[in-house]
């Protein structure tokens, strides 16, 4: 059967469906979201296999590995496929009421939302390390050890839900260089900004709608959840190629491969200074909880989402979180 849409369009359409299902009457339809996640997975597999084919072709051409750090740009999203709707997506940081609702939805989420864990993330990585080109910080999530705090406890170790990354060039006006992570058990929100770690605990304020000024809190001790430490990256930057399968995706291997993130970050900023990674924002919307977004985004300048889609990272990071979104 031929599909008139390419993998990227399917991915964006699917994400849009998942996003809109959250506001539909009657609550999230588990069945439909599960089916959409299958389409996402299928499209992603195709997209990744096309990318690897491209990688392989280039490798044949340049066997000295030089261009690995200068990966071909993510094929520009077909203009037709950039749904204008996404450009108009309001950030959840709109109204306090909505956040309150959403916060309640996330946590009280009880049975229905149950998302757990990103134990999902490492689980999936271990299952199919070669398929998953999730950036290094997902692995960090898995092996960072049990998260601090009691929270709801009892879950698999290191339950971090790694939200998308909206990396941008240092000079890009509308790309934030923050990544927000929410531990769904302890409700600790962790954010990395420009390489500095910020951590907020939103378990104290359940409805958490106030912007947390905690941007200046000191980085946590090692062993607790973390994104990446810029210091560590320097040494490893050279030898590791982009975190593609076969490259760094060894299950149980080095628990932390921050350089992949950094490498990507660098070339991403060089080549896509204008990309605002709507997909990443969507991921953030899903994953970080609205508390994280409230506190982070308000500190941002207002950055309208332009219609551009499908940053490379976003697509590459589609791995494990799709299922979490389904449950979410």
């Amino acid at each position: 059967m031929e599909c008139t849409l390419d993998a990227q369009s399917l991915i964006s359409i699917s994400l849009r469906k998942i996003h809109s299902s959250r506001t539909q009457r009657g609550g999230i339809k588990l069945h439909k979201n599960l089916l959409v996640s299958y389409v996402l997975r299928n499209a992603r597999q195709l997209y990744l296999s096309e990318r690897y084919a491209e990688l392989y072709r280039r490798q044949q051409h340049y066997p000295d590995g030089a261009p690995l750090l200068a990966m071909p740009a993510c094929p520009p999203p077909p203009a037709a496929a950039s749904p204008p709707e996404l450009a108009g997506l309001p950030l959840p940081a709109d109204t306090p009421e909505r956040e309150a609702r959403s916060c309640a939805a996330v946590r009280g989420g009880a049975e229905l939302l149950e998302v757990p864990v990103c134990a999902a993330v490492p689980a999936e990585l271990q299952r199919a390390p070669c398929r998953d080109s999730s950036p290094g910080f997902y692995r960090a999530a898995g092996s960072a050890g049990p998260g601090g705090g009691g929270g709801n406890g009892g879950a698999a170790p290191g339950p971090l839900y790694a939200a998308g990354c909206d990396f941008g060039g240092g000079g890009a006006p509308h790309c934030s260089s923050r990544t927000t992570v929410l531990d769904l058990d302890t409700h600790v929100v962790t954010t990395v900004e420009n390489g500095y770690l910020h951590q907020d605990c939103c378990s104290q304020c359940p409805c958490c709608c106030q912007p947390a000024p905690g941007l200046a809190s000191p980085p946590p001790a090692p062993g607790t959840k973390r994104k990446y430490y810029p210091g560590q990256e320097e040494e490893e930057e050279e030898g590791v190629e982009e975190g593609e399968p076969g490259g760094g995706g060894v299950a149980g291997g080095p628990p932390f491969a921050p350089c992949t993130k950094r490498a990507r970050f660098e070339e991403y900023s060089a080549e896509h200074p204008q990309d605002s990674s709507n997909i990443s924002n969507l991921i953030s919307i899903f994953g970080s909880g609205f508390t994280g977004l409230v506190s982070r985004q308000q500190a941002d300048t207002e950055q309208p989402l332009n219609g551009q889609l499908c940053s490379k990272q976003a697509l590459a990071s589609l791995g494990a979180w799709t299922r979490a979104i389904v449950a979410f």
Partner: protein, 458 residues
């Protein structure tokens, strides 16, 4: 045309249509379920607005032997209201997902209706008499002064205009975390099951504060969720047996005698996927939207997006028959995914119990019916292997007008009277159909209208 055992073809005629004529459909009027009761005298519909409308068939007029009684409104009531779950910040839709009738035990009728979260048992009773002639009360209800009573009389029942009252007798709530998709009454007529995406519960009709969980497919880690329950039904004869279908296209048959929690199936029905048909949407179109046992209980029918399959309970590895409902849609799955039509849940039904009308040594008539788009619906005769496509539309409005068969042109040159795939109206879908348990009368629900068709007698 179909054969009805003995070579007599069924010719379907328009009988009635219920519902608004407007093209502008109010969302609350969208019909969400249709069900005949056990005698076929009553026909219930549920809608998105949480209302139940029951139609009753008129007594057959002996002088008009060429048509059966018409269905007229018998009772209308609000079954479910929208609710808000404050704990989870979720709105609970009032849409009626399923209605199931109980067999009649006394003068009153009982049915179960369910929305996403709550099942209700409704009693529908008639009142056509009222007592008159009380000694201590006037007719208007005022009390009489006992000292003015000089004679005594016996109150009597006098006829009054028929009143049909619906009252909720039981409310079965708070047992489902996920959305209820099915209810099914057991053949013991004392218990019933309700199924949501991940769990199936067993209830006793008399007990509302307790239910037993008999199937739970929720994984310990929701991240590992790969399939959900899409439909469930009790076996028509064996009160210990039920089946449930999944989004992965499998059907599991469970025996409640085996263990309290029927997580391990007794039988697993699954057809291996044809690898040549693999696409982005393979998982979606293999999801089963409905499962129905045959009246005998020997077979069951499942509906997935493109086909209807008949399974023999004694053979698990593949269906015994497969009927393509609208194979021409296979090349359109991408657009159907975009406009969400690919998620439509079509139901299916068997024809009524076999009635040997003609003393001929032919196999009993066995026809299955299901809906499609453009207000088309399809019937497959399992004996003759013939199929027919009919349309529910107001254009064939005259009673006893025989419906003209329709044909969709998949590709190539379109013949006269054929409709090309691209002209199909995907907003006009027939998801719910029902077949009278004894007669060749069918109820077909379009978006907000209910059509009744009968076979042309004589």
């Amino acid at each position: 045309f179909l054969g009805a055992g003995g070579g007599n073809d069924i010719q379907w005629c328009f009988s009635q249509v219920k519902g608004a004529v407007d093209d502008d459909v109010a969302e609350a009027d969208i019909i969400s379920t249709v069900e005949f009761n056990h005698s076929g005298e009553l026909l219930a519909t549920g809608d998105k607005g949480g209302r139940v409308v029951i139609f009753q068939q008129e007594q057959e007029n002996k002088t008009q032997s060429h048509s059966r009684g018409e269905y007229n409104v018998y009772s209308t009531f609000q079954s479910h209201e929208p609710e808000f779950d404050y704990l989870k910040s979720l709105e609970i839709e009032e849409k009626i997902n399923k209605i199931r009738w109980l067999p009649q035990k006394n003068a009153a009728q009982f049915l179960l209706s369910t929305n996403d979260k709550t099942i209700k048992l409704w009693k529908i009773s008639e009142r056509d008499k009222r007592p008159e002639g009380y000694n201590l009360k006037e007719e208007d209800g005022r009390y009489r002064d006992p000292t003015t009573v000089t004679t005594l009389r016996v109150p009597v029942f006098r006829p009054m205009d028929l009143m049909v009252e619906a009252s909720p007798r039981r409310i079965f709530a708070n047992a489902h975390t996920y959305h209820i998709n099915s209810i099914s009454i057991n053949s013991d007529y004392e218990t019933y099951l309700s199924a949501d995406d991940l769990r199936i519960n067993l209830w006793h009709l008399e007990i509302t504060d307790r239910s037993f969980n008999i199937v739970d497919i929720k994984p310990a880690n929701m991240e590992e969720l790969t399939e959900v329950i899409t439909a469930a039904e009790f076996h028509p004869n064996s009160c210990n047996t039920f089946v449930y279908s999944s989004s992965k296209g499998t059907i599991r048959l469970c025996d409640m005698r085996a263990s309290a929690l029927c997580d391990r199936h007794s039988k697993l029905f699954e057809e291996p996927e044809d690898p040549s048909n693999r696409s982005f949407f393979s998982e979606i179109i293999s999801s089963i939207s409905d499962v129905k046992f045959s009246h005998s209980g020997r077979y069951m029918m499942t509906r997935d997006y493109l086909s209807v399959k008949i399974w023999d309970l004694n053979m698990e590895n593949r269906p015994v028959e497969t009927y393509q409902v609208h194979e021409y849609l296979r090349s359109k799955l991408c657009s159907l995914y975009e406009n969400d039509c690919i998620f439509d849940k079509f139901e299916c039904c068997w024809n009524g119990s076999d009635r040997q009308r003609y003393f001929l040594p032919s196999p009993p008539c066995s026809i299955v019916m299901t809906g499609s788009y453009n207000n088309f619906f399809r019937m497959f005769d399992r004996n003759t292997k013939r199929d027919i496509t009919l349309e529910a539309s107001r254009e064939n409005n005259k009673p006893r007008t025989v419906l003209k068969p329709r044909k969709v042109c998949a590709s190539g040159k379109r013949k006269k009277d054929e409709i090309s795939v691209d002209s199909l109206d995907f907003n006009k879908k027939i998801l719910h159909t029902a077949w009278h348990p004894k007669e060749n009368i069918i109820a077909v629900a379009t978006t907000n209208n209910l059509y009744i068709f009968q076979d042309k007698m004589n």
